[in-house]
Symmetry: C2
Subunit: 456 residues, 2 copies
Amino acid sequence: MEHVKEYIEANKDRFLEELFELIRIPSISSETEHKQDMIKAAEYWKETIFKAGADKAEVMTTEGNPVVYGEKIINPDAPTVLVYGHYDVMPVDPLDLWKIPPFEPEIKDGKIWARGADDDKGQAFMHAKAFEFMVKTDSLPCNVKFMIEGEEEIGSVSLGKWCADNKEMLKADIILVSDTGMIAEDIPSITTGLRGLAYWQVEVTGPNRDLHSGLFGGAVANPINVLCNMIAQMTDENGKITIPGFYDDVVEISEQERAMLAKAPFDEEEYKKAIDVKELAGEKGFTTTERTGIRPSFDLCGIWGGYTGEGAKTVLPSKVFAKISTRLVPDQDHKKIAQQFKEHFESIAPACVKVEVTSLHGGQGYVSPIDMTAYKAAEKAYTETYSKKPVPVRSGGSIPIISTFEQVLGIKSILMGFGLESDAIHSPNENYPLNQFFNGIQTIPYFYKYFAEMMK
Amino acid sequence: MEHVKEYIEANKDRFLEELFELIRIPSISSETEHKQDMIKAAEYWKETIFKAGADKAEVMTTEGNPVVYGEKIINPDAPTVLVYGHYDVMPVDPLDLWKIPPFEPEIKDGKIWARGADDDKGQAFMHAKAFEFMVKTDSLPCNVKFMIEGEEEIGSVSLGKWCADNKEMLKADIILVSDTGMIAEDIPSITTGLRGLAYWQVEVTGPNRDLHSGLFGGAVANPINVLCNMIAQMTDENGKITIPGFYDDVVEISEQERAMLAKAPFDEEEYKKAIDVKELAGEKGFTTTERTGIRPSFDLCGIWGGYTGEGAKTVLPSKVFAKISTRLVPDQDHKKIAQQFKEHFESIAPACVKVEVTSLHGGQGYVSPIDMTAYKAAEKAYTETYSKKPVPVRSGGSIPIISTFEQVLGIKSILMGFGLESDAIHSPNENYPLNQFFNGIQTIPYFYKYFAEMMK
């Protein structure tokens, strides 16, 4: 274990070149034109795992994009770690805001710049390289299984069924995931909670064609005006979501727990400065950390309709569309919420328009207890690298599949993320600091070490 | 005069071919890439007027697109008619809704299909051909001046100044315009009122970049949610616009006048069926005809922001944009309204976002008295063609330049429109029935005849 630093130092250029080759594949799962890139990325992962020292590695078909599976069984009695990651990435628009072409990775200012640099090519790749180190130095203390999927950014739509179909093969003691972040580069943290997600597209239709806004304006309902009115009704003046029953299953956090969460370092002025806003906004009665960690949210992810070109075209449009998402907290059920939203949204639509609500994806929230063995092993591993104990935090993000793993496979997950908030995942100019990448590779073998020791 | 029908019959194919040549020039004034097409269209009009028999015709520069001016002075003592029209057209998107390429005119089902078929290439062209008939048959009873501009669809931004600069040259007794419609193909009508217009683009900025909606959602204001809330506040539950002072100058119509306006035939069921809406909507206390004719309106012409591609990308967007217009009625001043909107909209913006309001264009409303000579001459001219008196109507549309003419040149306009509601102007599949085109050419010379007689 103590040789891990030397090993990284000796191989760092190769590690980066191998990662870059993966990044160069534009594996955007939400865009069907990238179907072939999904297969390419999966094949590349298979090779990576195999070369790193797996006994076997294969690209397995699902109803959607393939899953890469690989394993190395050192001893049937040793504990088994199932590594989860994803090779798909988010779309790259708006492209004009990128400083570099998103699929041509570059190193600048000590960071890797590219779509997927962090989420999740960079982070998942740390596991391949940590595994390689342990195999090559004969220090692997656990059985290892890899499960790298290609649909995380579109809700892991096929993975649940694939897991159910391969339950025996996937047997493990813990699922190890690096797809989250830590508080700051000098403040390690472990994500102990994730939010769930429900996502819809809505279409509001007024007249059957674009109308002259002079001849018809004032007498025919404008679908954009109507949609805005409907959206405005979805939250109240206290920032509460108005869907009937929406908060029914929200787990209310005790004052004691809130006090604990409040201990995680948070500088509101810095936070506002980083995103250049004068004021924060959200549900009344909760702090910023609570608003993203333990409370649900309601966000418009996109909206479009009518004339969007240059100049002043007057038109009363026929249609407007919006993409709408909510982040959910334990124990909100995304399927129930999806239905509640649809019913409510349709019910508030005035008779002058037609409204169509399509549920696009969803996932449950997740809570990882801090008293489980894997948490303690991860805590010790981070302490080796950072010389300080990681802080447990609730993240506002969602990895819907994590709760599915628990339901389908009966296995808990430990979220050892090395991302930073400044990594701009899902945004233009995504990046991943080299330090985080190498610190990840350095920390992971210690997790295996302590996990194996504690499981004895 | 009695030969006009024969003349049309003998020349109809040529008339159409000449019009089509004009239509084929994609003279979209709001799109800078069509700059050259504006000049082409102006040159074509110059040739048209000249060939029809004008003493002179020229393309005159303005601060924007050129104006075509032409004249035939038969006698300094004869009354002078100044024909106004425009050679620019609206954009064509959404292009996929067109059944034919918008700049390749086709005749089908007795109609001309193309962008500009009605508005205003088809309608303005009737004047060139009616003029040609009167010159060729030596029956022109008035002096004629033509003023065909290229910026009507973007608010005639340069024409006011051009008129002021050429006031002497433009001296006339009446301005004759075909850029409006009639109630139905068997119900001739003359537009006696036009709405004014104010048009803005707004930009709402939340964070300085697109954020991960999981990590930030609930704690950082989403600009789309905020914009929707702001738009929703712009009208109240009675359909009244909430901008302070907005209705201050609205001329309230007497019960007597309302009763007169209510006489124009209107079938609400047919109206709803034609645009496929179950219910109409608008300001409480007013009929559909009143809502578009004598009351202002507030319409979102376009909106865009965030993720608008395929699938479910979760993002908390940085920016959202909207194009917003109001139609104004006499005596609302578009400049005052533009300022009132800007101030109000900025004042209701919460501190968590930045709001930028840009005024894109505007124009005043117009009222044409039914006791003026030109109205009476037009009334008699329509009666020749349709064997029934035309109905005076207030149109919801705007031709901002009409009120500018009155202010700058001191000349009233008479709006002899031959468009039909089904012409889909400003929409995909714009069309213009051949009957309307030929009836227009037939009616116009009678206007000259009666106008000359009445002005004696």
